[in-house]
C-alpha cells in the first residue's frame, strides 16, 4: 500500500513536471530561425512555421529557363576572363579615373533598385520610383508620415529608402563591385532641400555585421538646378542597425555590395529626389585616408 502510494506520488510529480515544462520543451528538429537571424515580425503576426519543402513550387519550364540563364552567365564569365577584369581590357582599368556605376536611362535601370518605406512596420509613408522626363533621370517621390504605428511596440516612424539591388553572378552568387581605384563618390541629383543619408554596404563575413552600413549625409538644395555632390569615401562612417559605432574604420572599397539613400528627417510631407547618375571618381588631390579618429578608447595605463 505504501509502495503503491509512493509510486503514485512519483508519477504524479513526474506528470506535473511534464505539464509544467510542456510549453518550454521544443522538438529538437525544428530550429527557431527567428532567434538566430533576428527576423522581424509585426506585433501579433504569427511565426511562419511552414517547413521548407512545402514552400517549393516546382515548374519544369521555369527550371529549364533558369538552367539556361545561369549556364549562359557562367559561359559569359569564362569568356570575359580572357578580355580583362570585369570583362573590360586591362588598359581601361589602369587608365580610368571615373566610372559611372548607375545611370537612369530606361525602364530597365529602375529594375536595379528597391524602394521601401515604413509601411513594412505599419507606418503611413509612401514612396514611388519612376523615370523622369525624357528618360534621363529617376525620380523618387512620395510622402513622409512620422506618426508611429499603434501596435504597442514601435516608437518611431517616418522613413523611406532607395537601395540598389545586390548584383548577382551565375547561380545567384553575390557579385561585389570593386571601387578600389577610386576615392570619391560623385552623384548628380536634384533634391528639394531635404537632408538625406547615403548608405554604402560592403561585403561582410560575420552574422553580427549583417546590418553594418557606411553612412554620410547628403544635403540637397532645392531649386531647378542640378547639384553635383562629391563625397570622398574617407568621410563615410560605420554604423550598425542605425547606430554609429564607437570603433570606427574606413570603408574597404574592393567589395562594395549596395548603395542606398535614406530620408528620415522627421518632417512630414511630400518629398522628391531626382538622380541623374551615380559615379565614382579618383580625386588625386584628396589624400585623406580616414576622417575620424581610430584611437583606442580606455587604454591601459
Amino acid at each position: 500500500m505504501a509502495l503503491t502510494s509512493a509510486r503514485l506520488l512519483t508519477r504524479t510529480v513526474h506528470e506535473k513536471w511534464i505539464c509544467a515544462h510542456s510549453l518550454t520543451l521544443r522538438p529538437l528538429v525544428c530550429i527557431n530561425k527567428a532567434a538566430f537571424y533576428g527576423e522581424y515580425r509585426r506585433p501579433g503576426q504569427a511565426q511562419d512555421r511552414t517547413p521548407p519543402w512545402k514552400k517549393i513550387r516546382f515548374s519544369f519550364a521555369k527550371g529549364v529557363q533558369g538552367i539556361r540563364k545561369h549556364f549562359g552567365l557562367l559561359k559569359d564569365e569564362a569568356m570575359e576572363r580572357w578580355v580583362g577584369p570585369q570583362g573590360r581590357p586591362l588598359i581601361e582599368h589602369m587608365l580610368e579615373q571615373t566610372r559611372v556605376q548607375w545611370e537612369f536611362r530606361g525602364p530597365e535601370s529602375l529594375e536595379q533598385w528597391l524602394v521601401s518605406t515604413d509601411r513594412e512596420i505599419g507606418g503611413r509613408s509612401e514612396a514611388y520610383l519612376k523615370l523622369g522626363r525624357n528618360d534621363s533621370a529617376c525620380m523618387l517621390y512620395g510622402t513622409l508620415c512620422s506618426t508611429p504605428p499603434r501596435d504597442g511596440e514601435t516608437c518611431y516612424s517616418g522613413y523611406c529608402t532607395l537601395r540598389s539591388r545586390q548584383l548577382l553572378s551565375s547561380f545567384d552568387r553575390k557579385k561585389n563591385i570593386d571601387w578600389s581605384s577610386f576615392n570619391t563618390l560623385y552623384i548628380r541629383l536634384r533634391g528639394d532641400g531635404r537632408p538625406w543619408m547615403i548608405n554604402i554596404a560592403a561585403e561582410t563575413y560575420f552574422s553580427h555585421q549583417k546590418d553594418d552600413l557606411y553612412n554620410y549625409f547628403l544635403y540637397t538644395r532645392g531649386g531647378p538646378y542640378w547639384q553635383d555632390v562629391k563625397i570622398p569615401f574617407s568621410k563615410f562612417f560605420l554604423s550598425s542597425r542605425g547606430r554609429i559605432q564607437d570603433n570606427q574604420h574606413p570603408l574597404w572599397l574592393d567589395k562594395v555590395s549596395t548603395i542606398g539613400f535614406t530620408l528620415g528627417d522627421k518632417a512630414d510631407g511630400p518629398f522628391q529626389l531626382e538622380i541623374d547618375f551615380i559615379a565614382v571618381c579618383n580625386d588625386r588631390a584628396h589624400t585623406e585616408e580616414f576622417a575620424y579618429e581610430m584611437y583606442k578608447r580606455n587604454p591601459e595605463v
Binding site: R81, P85, Y205, F206, H249
Partner: protein
Amino acid sequence: WFLAWMGLEINTMAIIPLMAQQHHPRATEATTKYFLTQATAAAMILFASTMNAWTMGDWNINQISHPLATTTVTLALALKIGLAPMHFWLPEVLQGLNLTTGLVLSTWQKLAPFALILQISQNTNPALLTTLGVTSALVGGWGGLNQTQLRKLLAYSSIAHLGWMIIILQFMPALTLLNLTIYITMTSTMFLSLKIMASTKINSLALAWPKTPTLTTLIMLSLLSLGGLPPLTGFMPKWLILQELAKQDLPITATIMAMSALLSLFFYLR
C-alpha cells in the same frame, strides 16, 4: 607526429594575433578563415598519424605507411599550404592582411608544412601528388588572370609555385627544396618592394615609375623571375623540374606544367 602536430598548432596560434592586429573587420575575417583552415588541417594530421599509429604501431614521421593515413596527411598538408583544390582560403586571407603579415604568411608559414612534406615524400601516393601539382599550377595561372589586387595576385602566384614544388617531390625532393628557397626569396622581394611603395593595386604600380624608377625596375625583374623567364633565377627551378619530368617519362605532365607557366607569365607581364 604528435610533436609535429603541436608545433604546427603553436605556429598557427602564434601568427593569429599578428594577423588580427589591424582591428579591421576584414583582418578579423582573414584571421578567422586562416584559423579554421589551419585547425582543420592540423586535426586531419593528428587523425592520420593516430590512425597510422593504431594500424602500423609507428609514430615516426617518415614511417607513415598506411595508405589511408598517407593520403589523409598529404591532403591535410596541402590544405595547410594552400594547394589546389584546397586553395580557396589563400587569396581571401592574403587580401585581408597588410603586406608585412602577408609576407610572413606566404613565406615563413610554408616552412613547417614543407618540412613534413619532405619527410613523408617517399611514402606518398604519386598519382595524388601529380594531381595536386597539375591542378595547382593550372588554378594558380587561371585564377591570377585579371586580378587587380596585388595581394590576391601574389596568392595565386603562390598556389602556382606550390604546384611546381609538389609535382617534383616524388622524384627529387631536393628540387622541391630548391624551388621553395628561390620562391621564398622572390616573394619576399616582391612583398618588401610593394611595402616600400605602399601599393596594393596594379594601378598604383603603373604610376610608380616616375616616383621610384629603380624600385619599379626591381619589381619588374622580380615579377619576370616569378614568371620563370630566363636568364633570371626563377627560370632555374622550372627548367630543372621540366628536365626531371622528361627524364621520368612524363612528357604530357611537363607540357601541361609549361603551359600553365605561360598563363602565370601572362599576368606577370601585364
